[in-house]
């Protein structure tokens, strides 16, 4: 069900609400999301259960493949990134995105996805379209198209449930089952 974008006065009201929401999200930047993720690019990729945690030291992004339980964890810190759980042992690299691409072949714009997955624009120029209910339907940024297919109510307000991002034949699709924010 394509969500028809709104125009005119409603759009500017929606933009106001979105800016407010993005400020609030910025203030609560410690959160945890569990769900499923599927990634693909030129016919290759994978999927699995995902646990994404943003905390004081940085980001932990954990992926568990079904049945085999094959899993890996990417830890992003100020000084760089480390990935564990792969055959051959841990690997590290100052650039998290390069590490993920070269170790498991997943090319994901992690730093921007951190915003998109919460229904917010990443820093920098972006276009946004809102659906009739005033919630984001689509964000275009850095060549990516991010579609918000479904939203869910959580203890800390409405959050995206299914987010489909694509750029050329690259795809990152996330389905969230739980959102938790750390208050304090």
């Amino acid at each position: 069900c394509a969500r028809a974008p709104i125009r005119g006065v409603e759009a500017s009201q929606a933009e106001q609400a979105q800016q407010q929401r993005e400020l609030t999200l910025q203030a609560h930047d410690r959160w945890r999301m569990s769900g499923r993720v599927a990634v693909s690019a030129n016919g290759e990729g994978g999927s699995g259960a995902v646990l994404w945690v943003e905390h004081e030291q940085g980001t932990d992004f954990e992926l568990r493949a079904p049945v085999t339980g094959r899993s890996w964890r990417l830890q992003v810190r100020e000084q760089g990134a480390l990935i564990e759980g792969l055959e051959g042992g841990p690997l590290s690299d100052p650039d998290p995105q390069r590490l993920l691409r070269e170790s498991v072949g997943w090319d994901i714009p992690l730093s921007s996805l951190r915003y998109w997955v919460r229904g917010a624009r990443a820093p920098g120029p972006a276009q946004i379209e809102f659906a009739e209910d005033g919630w984001p339907a689509r964000i275009e940024q850095q060549g990516w198209t991010v579609e918000f297919r479904e939203w869910m109510d959580t203890a800390s307000g409405r959050m995206p449930k299914r987010v489909f991002a694509s750029r050329g034949d690259q795809r990152v699709r996330l389905a969230a089952s739980r959102w938790q924010f750390e208050h304090g």
Binding site: V37, T68, G88
Partner: protein, 196 residues
């Protein structure tokens, strides 16, 4: 020589169908995830897991390829089955020959008349798990447990096993639905199944 409980389990086993409940625990023993569904097996190399619940998922091994279908994410990934064989203890179970080829197998009585079987891959890091443990009793597989390279423990409890029931032939066939992305797995020469 396969342990006695495993022999009686796979003796004359043509097909198997049952329910499962899967729990995943993180390194300090916290329950991370709970899922359930149905599992079906057909010797020698076909199996199917149907996870039900919020994010249903279907995993089918048709004998050549393993298909993973995520309806919520509208994506199917496909890999040659040989790759999958070593990494899933259950896949190895229905073909005991594979078991002894890929795993060291040791058995210990579990004190209640059943047997605990320990499987450790012969080539380290070959499978997705460092070791697996199975619990069998009176020829039935009760439990399977394995821990992955992040030392997270998956415990799968089976129930309602039905042996050698007839299956419809397409239970282990998979055709990607229209409109979903079909992808191979990184590093595998998986040709993508031609959508005819």
């Amino acid at each position: 020589e396969l342990p006695s409980s495993l022999q009686s389990f796979s003796q004359g086993l043509k097909t198997l169908q049952g329910q499962f409940e899967q729990q995943v625990y993180d390194t300090d023993g916290q329950l991370k995830e709970q899922t359930q569904g149905t599992v079906a097996l057909a010797a020698p190399r076909q199996f199917r897991w149907d996870y039900v619940g919020e994010f249903p998922q279907t995993i089918i091994a048709d004998g050549d390829r393993v298909w993973i279908y995520d309806p919520e994410l509208e994506q199917v990934s496909v890999r040659p089955q040989s790759h999958e064989e070593q990494s899933s203890p259950l896949a190895a179970l229905i073909d005991p020959g594979v078991l002894e080829q890929h795993y060291f197998v040791s058995a210990v009585p579990d004190g209640t008349g059943g047997e605990e079987i320990e499987l450790s891959p012969k080539q380290e890091g070959e499978g997705g798990f460092s070791k697996a443990r199975l619990r069998l009793k009176e020829g039935a597989l009760l439990e399977m447990e394995f821990s992955d390279q992040l030392q997270q423990r998956s415990l799968i409890r089976f129930s309602g096993w039905k042996r050698n029931q007839a299956f419809s032939t397409d239970l282990f066939q998979f055709t990607p639905p229209d409109g979903v992305d079909v992808i191979g797995d990184i590093g595998e020469g998986a040709e993508v199944y031609p959508i005819n």
